[in-house]
Structure formats: structure tokens, C-alpha cells
Symmetry: C2
């Protein structure tokens, strides 16, 4: 018997996953969570697999929750389940310790198979995802640091360097410094181009 925890902020999705797994005799849903925090709190030892959404309406996001859960010993495996298959999301999830990365539009059989695989301790990456990861391995090292990503997000919201500095309690010089690094890593030379590039590769999420 495989015990599941479903973490998703959409009640409809929780109900759907619950209904799906209810038809399988060896799977049982033992809990639900509507936020990242809740997911961490409910991932006690009696849970075998956590189905984790990456996007939550507010608070802790799925990747962080995954990290928190996995850093404990005897932690359940985490299967990430999301709408998007952007590089940044996938990489973040895998790096956070996810055993698998599934898309919400996947056929039910695939979900169920992935749950069973994860319960056996296997990694269950969708084929498209695996290919993407491989491509990422060969890509130049251009991962933004978390601080840089934070700055870039504010830039994408249209804030000026001064605004960003105030918001993050930094000097304007520091913001510029971060931007230089961002430009270098993204191989661009203006803030709008950086935003365009980041959107393309899924490093930032539109409002």
C-alpha cells in the first residue's frame, strides 16, 4: 500500500488526483495540503509519496517545500507535478530533490505509473523532461543566483534601479552590479533584453 500526500492549491486538482488514485487498490491518499507550508507540515513518516505542485498562490513555493521535505531523514519521495515544463522549473525541482517531474496534462496512467516507480525508489522523469535536463547539462553555466533572480524579477515588473535598491534595502550601485552579472550570464546588454531572455527560458514568471 502506497500512502500519498497531495499538495496543490487548487481544490479541483486535489479532487481530481484523489479520484484518480481512488481507483487503484494499492494507492491511498492519506492527506492533502493547499500550501507549501502545509505540505511540509504534513509530510510525516506515514507518507510514502508527496505529489507536489510547483506553483502556489502565495507563501512557500513547491521547490522550497520539496527541499524542506527531502532534507529530513526518512523523508517521503516527492513527485513534482506542474503545468509548465520550463527549464528553470525542472532544474529547480530536480535540484531540490524531486524524484520525478510530471506535467498535469499527462495521461492518468502515466501519473499512476510514476507514483509506483517513485515508491520503488526509482526516478520517474518524463521523457521530454529527461531530454531537457540533458540539454541543460551541456549548456553554458548561466544559472542566476537567487539574489540576481530577485533583482531580475523586479526589473521585469518595470522598476528602476533606484526603486529596486529601495525595495531590497541596497544601494543603487549594488543593483547595477547585480545587473551586470545578469547581463553577462544572459548574454544581453539591456534590462528589457534581459527580461525578454529570461521570459524565454522560463526563469521568471509573468504576473
Amino acid at each position: 500500500m502506497i500512502r500519498l500526500l497531495i499538495a496543490d492549491d487548487h481544490p479541483v486538482v486535489r479532487a481530481g488526483l484523489g479520484a484518480l488514485f481512488a481507483t487503484e487498490p494499492d494507492l491511498i491518499v492519506v492527506g492533502e495540503a493547499a500550501s507549501g507550508e502545509e505540505a511540509v507540515a504534513r509530510s510525516y513518516a506515514g507518507v510514502d509519496i508527496v505529489l507536489m505542485d510547483l506553483q502556489f498562490g502565495g507563501g512557500m513555493q513547491g521547490a522550497d517545500a520539496t527541499r524542506r521535505i527531502r532534507e529530513r531523514s526518512g523523508a517521503p519521495h516527492v513527485l513534482v507535478l506542474t503545468n509548465y515544463d520550463t527549464d528553470a522549473d525542472i532544474l529547480g525541482a530536480v535540484e531540490a530533490g524531486a524524484a520525478g517531474y510530471l506535467l498535469k496534462d499527462a495521461p492518468p496512467e502515466e501519473l499512476i505509473a510514476a507514483v509506483r516507480a517513485a515508491a520503488r525508489g526509482e526516478s520517474a522523469l518524463a521523457p521530454t523532461v529527461a531530454g531537457r535536463l540533458e540539454a541543460r547539462q551541456n549548456a553554458p553555466d548561466d544559472a542566476l543566483s537567487s539574489r540576481e533572480a530577485e533583482v531580475l524579477t523586479l526589473v521585469a515588473d518595470g522598476m528602476s534601479n533606484r526603486d529596486i535598491a529601495r525595495q531590497l534595502f541596497l544601494s543603487e550601485a549594488t543593483v547595477k552590479s547585480h545587473l551586470v552579472h545578469i547581463f553577462t550570464k544572459l548574454q544581453v546588454s539591456s534590462r528589457t533584453a534581459a527580461v525578454a531572455s529570461a521570459r524565454e527560458r522560463g526563469a521568471i514568471r509573468s504576473a
Copy 2:
């Protein structure tokens, strides 16, 4: 008895909505559709309400499907159900003849109430959505001219004023002039903010 058709390309969401409505004695799901085309085909007279997702993986999108369904006489009411609440999406759906606009993260009771309201012929806009529509009504006349939209698109791609001028066979001064008008209409004061604002209201589609 209210007969429902569920149109969504995510099996999980279909299952979730099905499970949700199964608990209500006066609601019955009489069909499912995984694409816009399928939704149109299955919206025969025996259906009272269509739950319509706006985003489909490919082919006909929800707004077009809604239009097709509603243009027939004796057509079922269409409740649009989506992840995003951008102005453009909402406006498009309502204009296509949707009786309601709901977000997927809405609580189940709200969904069910909306279905019943739609079955009675009432309009069931989520409060947040209604407010947004109203705001749109009162908003200053901020429609961009086609030339302005053209410029803004290039800005969103990260091009400099000089690049844009060259591409559109203009002087740099003219590009700036267009930008001034764009800023005024969007009520912002920088190019990146303009792009953010345009993305928010759906005037620009990200790559």
C-alpha cells in the same frame, strides 16, 4: 437536474470536476471533451452547461469554442474556467458569450454555485473578475494605435530605440515620441514598466 459538459485538456482537472459535481444530486456530468473542437461537437441540446477551459494544448482555444457553441440557437450556457485572470482573457471570454468566468483555484462551493446560477440563466462572474471588468469600463481610453503596439512589441523583445528606428524606417526621435504616448496611455514611465503593463493586460503575448 442540470446536465454538464466538462471541456478541459487536463485529465486530472476533468476528474476533479467530475468528482466535485458527483456529490451534488442535482448536477450530472453527461460528457467530457479534451479539446475545443470536441467541446463544440458535444454541446448538443441535451447539455445545459458547458464548463470550458480557455487554454487547450492545441487547436481551437476555449474562447473560439465558446463563440461557436453560443452562436447556435438553444445553445447551452458556457462557464469559462481558467487558471489566469488577465484582462484580455476575461474580456475575450465574456465577449465570446460566456455566462461566467471562474478561476480554477476557486473553492468548490463557488464553482457549484456558479453552475446553478448559470443554469438559471444568471451571469456568474467571480467578484474579482467582475471588479476587473468594471475597472476596464471606467479605465481611461488607453487603446494603443497599431503603430504604437508595433513599437511596444519590439521594445518587449529587448530592442533599443535605435534598433527599433532602423527596423521601422523611422528616426530615433520618432520612436521616442511613440514611447511617450505609450507611457501615457499605459500610465507608466519606463519601457520595462510598459512591457510589464502590456503583458499584464494581455496586450502582448510572451514568447
